[in-house]
Symmetry: C2
Subunit: 164 residues, 2 copies
């Protein structure tokens, strides 16, 4: 398949997808973030061909989302543990759960996210980092950051012009 | 490529990925949610082969994320407008921006998300839907919902046992 690499892109969405932009990788990370660690556990959970699972696990180790650790030396056996970068992907998983629940759940939700201590339902929302106030999605916008190239600034400016 | 369909799955992450679990689709939706509408605009933005772009746009229309509307009849020309389901994907895009900015930005962020009215920086966080209080990720957990099958309940119970 023709596939242009976006690693030279500066867009954080493109950069993220370059590392996990593939169906199986996100499902493997979903399982890893739920506590699965061993090849056989992923294999059972995902019903994925072993050669494909090996390839995806290696790619996730290379991308710095999983760390491969020996848990037995005789025979040599490894487990796959989320790194900090892998742990932080939970924000994307929570966003996918919310979107999937809203648009694709059969009738009632089969999983939901709660605050452990209270059992209360939680949802991903945009929050003002200083005041901790919730800001509705439609009140948010994407703007050029301090590290934006001229090209990125033009792109965002072009989009703003369109929207007026 | 061998690919097992997960449409019969009840997991909202798997269900979501079945609809957008592909690199190009998420980049097309990123652009559509920023205001791009026409084939040529997507083509210029993404540098994607025309046959591939056509295929991905059609798949997004079929999945109910984009609506295809004629904007000219002579010659017949269409534009692609996000549906409500497509609009709600902004939560996933915001999560990808936050993760990409934290882990893959070169030095400074090239894009950031702000509250339009105030210019303040906003971030995706988990929020208690009733009290509107922010709940840290590590204080959240995924539990079976009212629509969970026995299999899903066993799966989540098995994971909880592991974690103790």
């Amino acid at each position: 398949m023709q596939r242009k690499t976006l690693l030279n892109s500066e867009c954080p969405v493109a950069l993220s997808l370059e590392h996990v932009g593939e169906w199986w990788s996100l499902l493997i990370m979903r399982d890893a973030l739920q506590g699965l660690r061993r090849f056989d556990e992923f294999s059972r959970s995902l019903a994925i061909a072993p050669n494909m699972l090996t390839r995806r696990l290696n790619a996730l180790v290379e991308a710095g989302l999983l760390e491969k650790r020996a848990y037995s030396t005789r025979p040599l056996r490894h487990e796959y543990v989320p790194t900090e970068r892998g742990h932080d992907l939970i924000g994307v998983i929570f966003a996918l759960i919310a979107w999937g629940n809203k648009h694709f759940a059969e009738s009632e939700e089969s999983v939901r996210v709660i605050e452990k201590a209270t059992g209360r339902t939680v949802q991903p929302m945009m929050v003002d980092v200083e005041s901790r106030q919730v800001v509705p999605w439609e009140a948010c916008e994407v703007v050029a950051g301090p590290g934006a190239s001229g090209e990125m600034r033009d792109r965002i400016a072009g989009i703003k012009t369109r929207q007026q």
